[in-house]
């Protein structure tokens, strides 16, 4: 396998002095499906933005496809173009990602930025819109779409760039059950195509279902587990300590007992 991302002793602190990531060391190999799980505020989204070259580390190093990933290297047009064409990022909030006039323009934005010709762009838009069954949405303004439709368009807007690596922040967040199943299908297709996926989530069931590797971030922003989902999920005490599951009382008839319980929805 080829290492697509290598993070060595990466630390990040916000401008306000708050720690976001603490001495992170990990490697993402080509074709892996990785879930970064952790409680709210554990640094999952920051780590994902770092992999997309939107946030940079205060200490440590990151390499992407064998090249250092820094503000300076991303200033170089050749590397920026190559990096952006190879890495796609689906934001947690689809509203943030949909900034164009119509859904068609959203899907065309990335390929146009990559300098592709009009025919190629139209072909890519048609192909992805067909695959994601959003042809009827192409002519609509993003603000008129429902939450699930926005998510589909947001994902499609990244897929038209045909990235080698797909980064997704809380992909199942705010999706109804049918859309969640649809999303897991998309991830499965992506896996079969041999592409790399890194998702940040605290939806343990979706992570276990769609990924073959699970990395756990603690509330102290450090990696505390990294392995196969079934092995990580078997570590009940660890998951309790990082606030991914909690003791929950249930009543079954006259009996009342306590067992671990996973967070599957955003706690606002």
């Amino acid at each position: 396998m080829t290492a697509e991302f290598v993070l060595t002793d990466v630390c990040h602190t916000y401008g306000t002095g708050l720690d976001a990531l603490d001495h992170i060391a990990l490697t993402v190999e080509a074709g892996q499906h990785v879930a970064i799980v952790g409680a709210n505020g554990s640094g999952k989204s920051t780590l994902l933005k770092m992999l997309d070259g939107l946030v940079f580390c205060n200490a440590g190093t990151i390499t992407a496809f064998g090249h250092p990933l820094t503000e300076e290297t991303l200033e170089e047009p050749a590397f920026r173009r190559e990096f952006r064409s190879r890495v796609g990022f689906v934001f947690q909030d689809a509203d943030v990602q949909l900034f164009c006039n119509t859904a068609f323009d959203e899907l065309a934005f990335g390929p146009l930025q990559l300098g592709l010709g009009p025919d190629e762009v139209r072909a890519r838009v048609a192909e992805v819109a067909g695959a994601l069954r959003i042809e009827k949405l192409l002519d609509r303004a993003p603000y008129t779409l429902s939450g699930g439709e926005k998510k589909r368009v947001a994902i499609a807007s990244v897929l038209t760039m045909r990235p080698q690596v797909l980064l997704m922040d809380e992909p199942t967040n705010a999706l109804d059950p049918r859309s969640q199943v649809w999303l897991l299908d998309v991830l499965d297709q992506w896996k079969r195509a041999g592409r790399t996926v890194v998702i940040a989530t605290h939806d343990l069931s979706a992570a276990a279902e769609s990924c073959d590797r699970m990395i756990v971030l603690s509330e102290e922003h450090a990696v505390v587990a990294d392995g196969a989902p079934e092995d990580v999920l078997a570590q009940r005490d660890l998951l309790l300590s990082v606030n991914l599951i909690h003791e929950h009382a249930h009543r079954h008839g006259a009996d009342r007992h306590v067992h671990p319980h996973a967070h599957e929805h955003e706690h606002v």
Binding site: K49, D52, L54, P77, R80, R81, R84, S85, G88, F89, F91, D93, D95, V96, Q97, L98, F99, C100, N101, T102, F104, D105, A108, F109, G110, L112, Q113, L114, P118, V121, R122, D139, R140, A141, P142, Y143, T144, S157, V158, M161
Partner: protein, 293 residues
């Protein structure tokens, strides 16, 4: 034992009396504004005369109509143009009543405000029609004021027809196709989206407040709350702008906003252009020949 957090007050909730609260009124107004935008998209997508035109041709022709109206002097001809806007509204499946109400409640009102001084003897001397103390309305002054109001109404009518019969997305496409910078067009698109998104946020904030209030609150409290929320919305808007910029960078944004504008004029558009030119020539010709200044 019921924890304090879950304790339900024994006291019956007090009934609200008097006018609706500020929160409710604001939320309703915002909801109405958002619904109006969405309904407008529906109307603009319906099968009407103006909707079937190429947005570029519609935009240019309506601009020309408005300019022509500003050169028309005679009140009868201006009246014909006003009727023409209503006929176009009807042919475009726009409710003529709501169209007329919108035009006259905004353009008519502001036209009246602007032109009222011209009707007085101070600005336009002549035969006095009505005297109210020191204020006298003259016959030529009244004609000038009426002409001004009618021109504003014609311009506003054509403008409203474009807005109501063209989807915002098509309007931006037309601007792009007409040579307006893609960056400007993209900024307009983002602004519209951001306004809609923030309107929803503000509506929800007001509804959340309403749901926890038993009275309308004092004017002072309401002012303080609104100011504090405005600051929140401003902060949120800035955060969203940063996030949107990150999303653009992530998809390779490098400063330019190329787009694929796909608009095609048809024979219907050609017929419209010919009819528009003929109407403009006719309006100006009749105005000059039948009603010379």
């Amino acid at each position: 034992m019921i924890p304090a957090l879950a304790h339900i007050s024994d006291a019956a909730p007090r009934k609200r009396s008097g006018p609706r609260s500020l929160a409710r009124r604001t939320a309703d107004a915002i909801g109405h504004a958002v619904a109006e935008v969405l309904e407008n998209d529906e109307l603009a997508s319906s099968a009407g005369l103006m909707q079937s035109l190429d947005p570029r041709i519609k935009l240019v022709s309506v601009l020309v109509f408005s300019v022509v109206a500003s050169f028309v002097h005679s009140l009868p001809m201006l009246l014909v143009l006003i009727v023409a806007t209503m006929a176009l509204a009807a042919a475009s499946r726009v409710s003529v009543a709501s169209f007329a109400r919108k035009v006259w409640s905004s353009a008519g009102f502001f036209g009246l405000l602007l032109s009222a001084p011209a009707a007085t003897a101070w600005i336009t001397p002549g035969e006095i029609l009505v005297s109210l103390g020191p204020l006298s309305i003259t016959a030529p002054g009244l004609v000038i004021a009426t002409r001004l109001i009618a021109r504003v109404a014609v311009g506003a009518g054509f403008g409203l027809l474009v807005v109501w019969t063209t989807r915002w997305t098509d309007l931006l496409r037309a601007l792009s196709a007409m040579g307006v910078s893609d960056l400007v067009v993209a900024t307009l698109a983002m602004t519209q989206k951001q306004i809609m998104s923030l309107l929803r946020t503000v509506e929800n904030m007001h509804l959340a407040r309403e749901s926890r209030m038993l009275s309308g609150g004092t004017a002072r409290d309401n002012r303080g709350w609104v100011i504090e929320r405005m600051a929140f919305v401003a902060r949120r808007s800035m955060k969203t702008a940063d996030d949107v910029y990150d999303a653009m960078l992530s998809r390779g944004f490098s400063g330019a906003m190329p787009s694929l504008v796909d608009l095609h004029a048809t024979t219907r558009d050609l017929a419209w252009v010919i009819a528009s030119v003929a109407a403009c020539v006719l309006a100006l010709g009749v105005d000059r020949m039948v009603f010379p200044v």
